[in-house]
Point group: C2
Chain length 506, copies 2
């Protein structure tokens, strides 16, 4: 044990002694701060592991790291093998437990484009402070051992999504271990290393390992808090399906002068095809898209209780108006969304060439809600495209296909997983609300459906258990974008939140 550790631990027990061993919200603050400071070496090591599951070789070191970290906290670990990389299950039983809580953690991260990060390497975490101009300046990592400003942030890929929450959970377990607190429930932790790929192996794995994963409820430590950054519980999430669409033009790019007005332009065709999928105000124009969604007055009033500051949201995003779906932000998330993730045809900017592109690509995603089945929604899009006269292939068109169809496109779709939604009025809801109350002294904000997707419906469906997410990270964390970060105040609060929940009797 290092000197620093001895000092830290002594401080904690001193705090507990002075407060006659009662762990309340205030003591939790001191504990969480102390354990956060204690965590930064381990965090630095963890955050420095590249974790883009597009390259499976990056994942193995992450699995190993998690195995070691959980074993150190008294868990048994088991790799749940799949066709690609494994899931990792860490289990720990407690003497007085009569229920089992399954915890979902995500370990992999989105790909990085290093050129857009304002730091040497997106996988080497840096500590930053915001200057008077609103920009973020790097400060020495060693500042984390002095007085911590809760508004400082650690920048690195996955800092918030979701290795920050992973570390919070580990530190909460350290607190329980050091205080010898025994939850009255067993804990199983399932770690996903392909979340950002849409967890393609997860649905089958949950079926294959149903016995190992058996539990009474599922808690997800992932996602950003409500935009006000107040403590939050999220009772559901939208599901996700993706579509890759490529419209074919001439076999090779052609000189745009020599053949412009003659050879059809696939970028023009793609624009026209996409254009008709939406009304001008952002609502999806594909027939039957919103079928089956009914937002009752009761639900509307629940949604209105969420204290969204919409003018501020729009100001943060730099947008003068929003899509016209639902009558507020929370309502918009109750509907399925169709969005363009990316477009590409030939080259732009300095790389621009005077050509008719050979193909034009759009990547789309559908965000599903509980009422909308993924395969059905993909079919609606496919039907729409075919109704526009397109001949669809799932490969490069053959010569014969090229010569017999004016409009040819490649259409590849994948439903990753559906949505889930748990009622507020459930055992898991009540337990988590009690935990949050003990940590913060007030009720959390309760969100009916978070817009983002987490691969939870396979658990909900296959294991037949309810699920609720406890998001902890700052909403402005640049999740999925360059310069992802976690606010230290949120990191510390996150340790507190998880500790309070794990200490709460079920």
């Amino acid at each position: 044990m290092k000197i620093k550790d001895v000092f830290t631990k002594s401080l904690i027990f001193l705090i507990l002694f002075m407060t006659t061993m009662v762990v309340d919200g205030q003591n939790l603050d001191a504990l969480a701060l102390s354990y956060a400071k204690d965590s930064f070496d381990e965090l630095y090591e963890f955050f420095s592991l590249p974790n883009d599951a597009n390259d499976p070789s990056e994942i193995e070191p992450n699995v190993k790291w998690c195995e070691r970290a959980f074993k150190q906290r008294g868990f048994n670990t088991k790799r749940l093998e799949t066709e690609t990389v494994p899931l990792l299950l860490a289990s720990r039983s407690f003497p007085n437990a009569n229920k089992t809580v399954l915890v979902y953690l995500q370990v992999d991260g989105q790909p990085v484009d290093s050129t857009k990060w304002f730091q040497p390497n997106p996988y080497i975490p840096v500590l930053k402070t915001q200057n008077a101009q609103g920009n973020w300046d790097i400060i020495p990592w060693s500042h984390l051992q002095g007085d911590i400003n809760p508004d400082w942030r650690i920048f690195s890929r996955s800092a918030s999504d979701a290795r920050g929450p992973d570390m919070m959970f580990l530190k909460a377990m350290d607190i329980l271990n050091d205080l010898d607190v025994q939850p009255n429930f067993n804990i199983k932790v399932i770690m996903d290393f392909e979340e950002e790929l849409g967890s393609p192996q997860l649905p089958n794995a949950v079926k294959a390992y149903k016995e190992e994963l058996k539990a009474d409820m599922l808690v997800i430590f992932d996602g950003p808090r409500h935009l006000s950054n107040a403590p939050t519980l999220v009772y559901g999430a939208r599901g996700i399906a993706t579509i890759s669409l490529e419209v074919f033009g001439p076999r090779v790019p052609l000189h745009s002068g020599n053949y412009g007005n003659y050879a059809p332009n696939p970028a023009m065709k793609l624009s026209q095809l996409l254009s008709g999928m939406w009304f001008d105000d952002g609502r999806v124009a594909i027939p039957r898209w919103y079928d089956g969604i009914i937002i009752s007055d009761e639900v509307k009033s629940v949604l209105k209780q969420v204290p969204d500051d919409e003018p501020q949201i729009q100001k943060n995003f730099g947008i003068a108006s929003t899509d016209n779906i639902g009558s507020n932000f929370q309502e918009a998330m109750q509907y399925p969304a169709l969005g363009i993730l990316g477009l590409k045809a030939a080259w732009v900017g300095n790389e621009r060439r005077t050509i008719i592109p050979a193909t034009a690509i759009a990547e789309l995603n559908i965000r599903l809600v509980k009422e909308t089945d993924g395969e059905h929604m993909v079919k609606l899009v496919k039907d729409y495209i075919q109704d526009q006269g397109y001949y669809l292939v799932d490969h490069e068109p053959t010569e014969e296909e090229r010569m017999s169809h004016n409009k040819i496109a490649r259409f590849n779709a994948k439903v990753s997983y559906g949505a889930y939604r748990t009622d507020f009025d459930t055992e898991i809801g009540a337990w988590l609300r009690r935990g949050m109350y003990s940590a913060f002294g007030h009720e959390p904000i309760q969100i009916r459906t978070g817009g983002g997707s987490i691969p939870i419906s396979p658990f909900v469906i296959t294991l037949g258990i309810p699920a609720v997410a406890v998001p902890t990270v700052n909403p402005d964390n640049n999740q999925h974008s360059p310069n992802e970060n976690i606010r230290l105040g949120n990191y510390i609060d996150g340790i507190k939140t998880i500790t309070a929940i794990l200490m709460e009797k079920l």
Copy 2:
């Protein structure tokens, strides 16, 4: 003089002696072949110079190379300085001349994407032969010193567009020099090192150096022959203007789940904006686009004489139908075109991220005809975009602009140069036809307006002279695309063509 050179020259004079020194089409064939073989070392050196004018440092070695090559052929050279890289003027007078022919040559090339070339380096030329499967295999460069198959090709950036023609001109001058043929006109050669950038400095340079450039007519040795690969003259070319259009969404990319259905998607907006610019059949839908273009029955019949094999063109391109502009390919080129050169929003393919992009970019070009002024056509596009409710900027929008406009786009346009068109029935037309007849024994195909753009209108307008292009390279040369090449048969025929023209009395 190398042994090889001595042998070559001896062979030529033997040929000329045997044919009593009459240089007719058949003798020209032997001369052109011999001088082509003689040229490959010099060609290899020339083609190996990177020449992307986006990087001006690549251009200086090209200017130096041309200075040396023209001085070796008895020309005086002068750099015509501009704000960026110079133009190069090479001049040579002849005793019996009473007219001056200005020759336009292009030296720079399109950018390269090395990953799409099937050879180690797009700037290191390779010799290839087509195999039974239709693919091109590299064969040793030394094969060029044995029996040459005219269907072999040299692959490298600018092989056809347009350093092949530059080499043909130099070799034609070698033939004239070796045979001591004196044209009855002076020759001025103007070399352009920014053609692929749209020759931004050229219009002002032609004005500034009007005296130096003074001539009676302009011949352009650039461009592909008619698609039948038969000898061709081109009496006009479309002009070009470019537009860079960027639709703004949220200030940074947002999580497509967390904010899909709420934050407007700029890729969707761009698709809708572009979509309305065309009818489904490829005709431009922007009001007044085709105003002023009248194709008379007489012109239609001239256009019909061009032996286009349209089913074959479409088969080559792998397209089942064409845009519906004019009633055939030649007619389509008499109209202004609007085309998408490239699209980009966020990422696609393996780099796809589940985000709402921050911006979406389209690069467009307008191909102008003689009847359509560039600034006017750009204004039609701009008016159209504004009529769709867009607030246009030429910079990143300010916070205030973002918060006060739903639809904001950056619009940057540039008119490079207009179209030109010379009547068939002119002195330059008659002279070039005579030259072509002496080389090939039949009339060339005559094209009223080539679709591609060459920066000729500044000469036509400022110097008040007619211009005609003599294209020589194979039409299937992959100009502006990866794997650009020149067919050896065309290279040799090109030397013959230029030699015959320069030998023809004016």
